[in-house]
């Protein structure tokens, strides 16, 4: 009798082992036959042996055999279900193989940077305006208070199309165009291409991007100019950037300023620094209060309204930000370069 109980235990172990090895439907079917076949199944045989058990013990042993039968049937069923589930066949594939890549287009770094600038100004409530790239002498120079034969024009090496038409040398003409069209309050930026007669070298290129800004309203002061540009530069770089306003000259602003940021590379500690030339400062923006003559040129009363304007080279700023040594990199359009700027 003990034998039968022992037999059940051995069979149970054998079954468990067999089930663990069964890898597919066929081996499972074999296993089922081995144990549950109506003729020669091991459990069927066990049941047959039951009649040799003493009547006292028979109920208990019988219960054990039936339990075992139930166990086998259940396990087989569970396993069969499991086999039907979709599975990853581990042994056939090397999961360390590279995944599928797709080309995902990347923005041009200058335009990526331009967008960053635009977003900051949009947050500050500026509108974005457009202007033509072919300009008249009037918009590019005269309305901006450059007299016809003034040496200040030499600072803007101009590409001419005719006596009167040129490729805009800065985005400032858009100030005039916007003020002609709208009355104050005005708060706008204009990012766009500008052109200079420059032979390309690491720090000069004949076409680049600038962003122009203009605010005209009642009571606008130089303090507003400082506040706005500081806020912008901190957002563009970081909270801790050093910012310096220096007196400068532009025909269309008075007072005029240039804005420098502390050199992010040497922090003013290397007199041989290639980025800041050892001065510790990088010139980043030109700005100033809109010249009263410019306001008069667009029929805005300078006694009533005042404003500030600023202009920044996007390429140059991006160059410092990304630490790119040569401006020409931007216009070679080498995809190995561009694709880094996602």
């Amino acid at each position: 009798m003990v034998d039968l109980k022992n037999k059940i235990r051995v069979l149970r172990n054998n079954f468990d082992e067999g089930l663990a090895k069964a890898g597919d439907k066929d081996s499972l079917k074999d296993l089922r036959n081995t144990y549950l076949s109506r003729k020669k199944g091991r459990i069927t045989l066990l049941l047959k042996e039951l009649k040799d058990v003493s009547p006292q013990e028979r109920p208990e042993v019988g219960k054990q055999v039936n339990e075992f039968k139930g166990y086998v049937a259940q396990k087989l069923e569970e396993y069969a279900k499991k086999l039907e589930e979709p599975r990853y066949i581990k042994s056939e594939i090397d999961l360390t193989l590279p995944g599928k890549r797709r080309y995902r287009g990347t923005p041009h770094p200058i335009l990526l940077y331009k967008k960053r600038i635009e977003q900051i100004f949009l947050l500050m409530g500026f509108s974005i305006e457009d202007g033509p790239e072919i300009e008249t002498d009037y918009y590019n120079f005269e309305a901006l208070n450059f007299p016809p034969h003034h040496p200040a024009r030499d600072d803007w090496d101009t590409l001419y199309l005719s006596d009167d038409l040129l490729l805009r040398t800065h985005t400032s003409p858009v100030q005039i165009r916007v003020m002609e069209k709208k009355k104050p309050p005005i708060r706008m930026i204009n990012p766009g291409k500008v052109y200079r007669r420059e032979t390309p070298d690491p720090t000069h290129i004949p076409m680049f991007y600038q962003v122009e800004g203009l605010v005209v309203d009642l009571g606008i002061t130089f303090a507003h100019l400082k506040g706005t540009l500081e806020c912008f530069l901190k957002a563009l770089y970081n909270e801790k950037i050093k910012i310096r306003f220096r007196p400068s000259y532009f025909p269309f602003t008075e007072p005029s300023a240039e804005v420098d940021i502390g050199c992010t590379v040497c922090r003013g500690e290397d007199r041989q620094c290639r980025v800041c030339g050892g001065s510790g400062w990088i010139e980043i923006l030109g700005a100033g209060m809109v010249d009263p003559q410019v306001l008069k040129n667009v029929n805005i009363d300078p006694e009533k309204y005042s404003g500030f304007a600023f202009g920044m080279g996007i390429d140059r700023t991006a160059m410092f930000s990304f630490r790119i040594p040569d401006l020409r990199n931007f216009y070679e359009n080498d995809l190995r370069f561009i694709r880094q700027f996602s």
Binding site: G105, D155, A223
Partner: protein, 684 residues
């Protein structure tokens, strides 16, 4: 310009370390680009502004520093050794063009010994980065760099006649200038002439024949004021810019020529010459001092700070402005002659701000008021285009707007290209009429550097001329060639083809909701025959796409096929996209019917599509062509087309019989119209 610290010390006591000096100068707008210590001196490279010619000499820089540090300028004396002879007896100056030469001073120094300059003078000249020439030339240069007043010395004995005439040149007159070049003069140019011919180009350069040499004994020293515009036009015309013309074209101090002449004479007598008594000073219309009204409240209004009245008065006086109080808080300010830039109140306010210190002005954010928020539509669409094209695997590029005329010829855009008068180079002398040239340049650049596939786009202007007017057209260009995806071990990567390009175009217009767009087959000089489509929207051609001509692609040394498109965004932006309206999604099951036809190969997909759409089948939700093939079992002129039709009712379950009816209608129509038959006798 270069500024020597030792030289500055001739004018004022500076007890600052170079670094402190540089900071001081930067803070008042005298930007020092860099500086170096050299031979016991410190030389600063100063960036100067076009409106501040007074800072083009050490005196002007010293004045600024003196005002800023509140220390006085040193009093300088210019003793003369005088001869008994008087200049008015010996020489005469006649100014025929008062407007072009408002003031002309001259002195004569005789019995000079021309030779090397004394050591102190040589070191000054060297500090300016020049090589000393001789004591006379060095002296004139010294005065120029010291005071910003250009000085010219003529060899008196080489002048013909005892007379200088300031006149305009006669057309065709010639002048051999210093250095030996011969310049042909014209009537608009102001010259300094002796009785016979021009001896100098006024304010620009002297003549070789009357130049000071080792043999020179007596000199006539010119210290004048010339009209800035005239000097500028002349030097631009002859192409000679000098230290003198650089200063005259920016404007010089009209009160200063006598003093500068005196200084020059004094220095020349110190090296052995004797000055003739007196000075010639032709100044027929003495200029009044400029006066500007300054209102205290405007200073605060513009700067956003309250500047103390005492500061304003003190500082302006230190800067040699004269103030006359008119009323409380209002002054009449007299501008010193050396400040040619100060014309208006705003200019004075800048002076105040400059010396008050930009760093002391607080930072405020202006309050946003009454601005109508406007969305820039062009920008918005541009962003959406970029988004879509990035998704489609196109990289963004920016090319120069210039075009090589040789390349321009290839494209035959039909547009008249705009020429640049003074291009950077001949290869960049036109403005582009198409974006595709630039994109091809990008393709060849990248293919040569190992790229397996290049898919690029650019948004920007193209330019053209029409009826003497110039236009810029905002455009989108994109081009694709080679492998569509990076290599993958599991599957050979697909290559770009015409339908990739077309699919991108379709996706783009759909994404922007510019429906219904259409394509028409149209030959285009850009593209190979039968490989060119025109893109239309609302009856207007807004773009073209196709396979670029071999001749064009080869000119860029590209072997592969290149598929390219250009879309006129300017026109597209003027049109309204389909107003967006959401349509509810049906909750009922649809009926899908797959139907395969055998069609003649001469029947285009577009024709079939138009035919199906004309039927206006109700509840036809969508249909797609999911297979197209031809093969041995079909006759050569036939093709098999498999469509999947999806029928769905918005409010109830569609009945199979209804779908049968629609299906029959389609089959019948296609059969009648184009003789399409069902393949294999029925549905798949």
């Amino acid at each position: 310009m270069k500024i020597s610290l030792n030289w500055l010390k001739e004018f004022l006591d500076i007890r600052l370390f170079p670094k402190e000096l540089v900071e001081k100068m930067n803070s008042i707008g005298l930007l020092v680009d860099h500086w170096e210590e050299r031979d016991g001196d410190v030389v600063l490279e100063l960036e100067t502004y076009a409106n501040r010619p007074d800072t083009l000499g050490h005196l002007g820089v010293a004045r600024e520093l003196a005002a800023s540090m509140a220390i006085p300028l040193k009093d300088r004396k210019f003793p003369l050794v005088e001869a008994s002879e008087s200049i008015s007896d010996a020489f005469d100056v006649q100014v025929l063009e008062e407007d072009l030469c408002p003031r002309y001073c001259g002195v004569i120094v005789k019995d000079l010994k021309v030779g090397p300059s004394p050591a102190w003078l040589m070191s000054r000249i060297k500090a300016m980065g020049l090589s000393p020439v001789n004591n006379v030339v060095d002296t004139t240069n010294y005065i120029l760099f010291s005071t910003a007043q250009p000085i010219h010395a003529f060899d008196l004995n080489k002048l013909r006649g005892d007379k200088i005439i300031v006149r305009t040149a006669r057309n065709g007159e010639e002048l051999k200038v210093l250095g030996g070049d011969v310049v042909t003069l014209s009537q608009s140019m102001l010259v300094i002439a002796d009785e016979k011919k021009p001896v100098a180009l006024a304010g620009i350069i002297g003549g070789e024949d009357t130049a000071v040499t080792e043999e020179t004994k007596d000199v006539f020293i010119e210290s004048a004021c010339f009209d800035p515009v005239s000097v500028r036009k002349t030097w631009k015309e002859i192409g000679i810019q000098t230290d003198a013309s650089y200063r005259f074209e920016r404007g010089t101090d009209i009160s200063f020529p006598p003093e500068a002449a005196c200084m020059t004479a004094s220095l020349l007598t110190q090296i052995g010459g004797k000055a003739l008594k007196g000075m010639i000073d032709i100044y027929p219309k003495p200029r009044k001092t400029k006066t500007v009204i300054l209102r205290h409240h405007r200073v605060s209004e513009l700067l956003g700070i309250d500047v103390d009245e005492g500061f304003i008065i003190d500082f302006l006086k230190r800067m040699e402005f004269k103030l006359e109080k008119q009323r409380e808080g209002i002054w009449r300010v007299q501008v010193p002659y050396f400040r040619v830039d100060i014309e208006r109140e705003a200019d004075l306010i800048e002076e105040i701000a400059r010396f008050y210190g930009y760093d002391k002005i607080p930072s405020h954010i202006p309050v946003l008021q009454g601005i109508n928020l406007e969305v820039n539509r062009r920008k918005e669409i541009e962003d959406r285009i970029r988004e879509l094209l990035f998704h489609e695997g196109f990289d963004e590029v920016v090319n120069y707007s210039f075009m090589d005329p040789e390349k321009e010829k290839l494209f035959k855009t039909g547009l008249d290209a705009v020429e640049i008068r003074n291009p950077v180079s001949l290869k960049a002398s036109l403005l582009r009429t198409t974006l595709i040239g630039g994109l091809l340049g990008n393709i060849v650049w990248n293919v040569n550097r190992g790229a397996e596939g290049v898919h690029v786009f650019e948004t920007g202007n193209v330019f053209f001329k029409k009826d003497e007017k110039y236009f810029e057209r905002y455009s989108l260009g994109f081009a694709t060639t080679g492998q569509l995806d990076p290599v993958f071990w599991k599957k050979e990567p697909e290559k770009s083809d015409f339908f990739h390009l077309k699919g991108t175009c379709e996706e783009l217009l759909r994404y922007l909701k510019f429906e219904d767009f259409s394509f028409t087959v149209e030959e285009n000089p850009f593209f190979e025959q039968n490989y060119s489509l025109c893109l239309n929207f609302k009856g207007e051609k807004i773009g073209f796409l196709g396979g670029l001509k071999r001749s064009i692609v080869s000119a860029y040394s590209i072997q592969e096929y290149v598929w390219a498109a250009e879309i006129n965004l300017g026109s597209l932006l003027k049109k309204q996209p389909k107003p967006f309206e959401y349509s509810p999604v049906s909750r009922y099951p649809g009926i899908i019917r797959d139907i395969s036809f055998i069609a003649g190969r001469d029947v285009s997909y577009q024709e079939i599509k138009d035919c199906i759409e004309k039927l206006m089948i109700p509840y036809l939700e969508d249909y797609v062509l999911y297979d197209r093939f031809w093969g041995k079992e079909m006759s050569k002129d036939k093709v098999s087309l498999s469509f999947r039709f999806i029928f769905r009712h918005p409010e109830r379950t569609l009945l199979a019989e209804e779908a049968d009816g629609f299906q029959e209608k389609i089959i019948k129509a296609l059969n009648t119209e184009f003789g399409l038959n069902l393949r294999g006798g029925g549905q798949d």
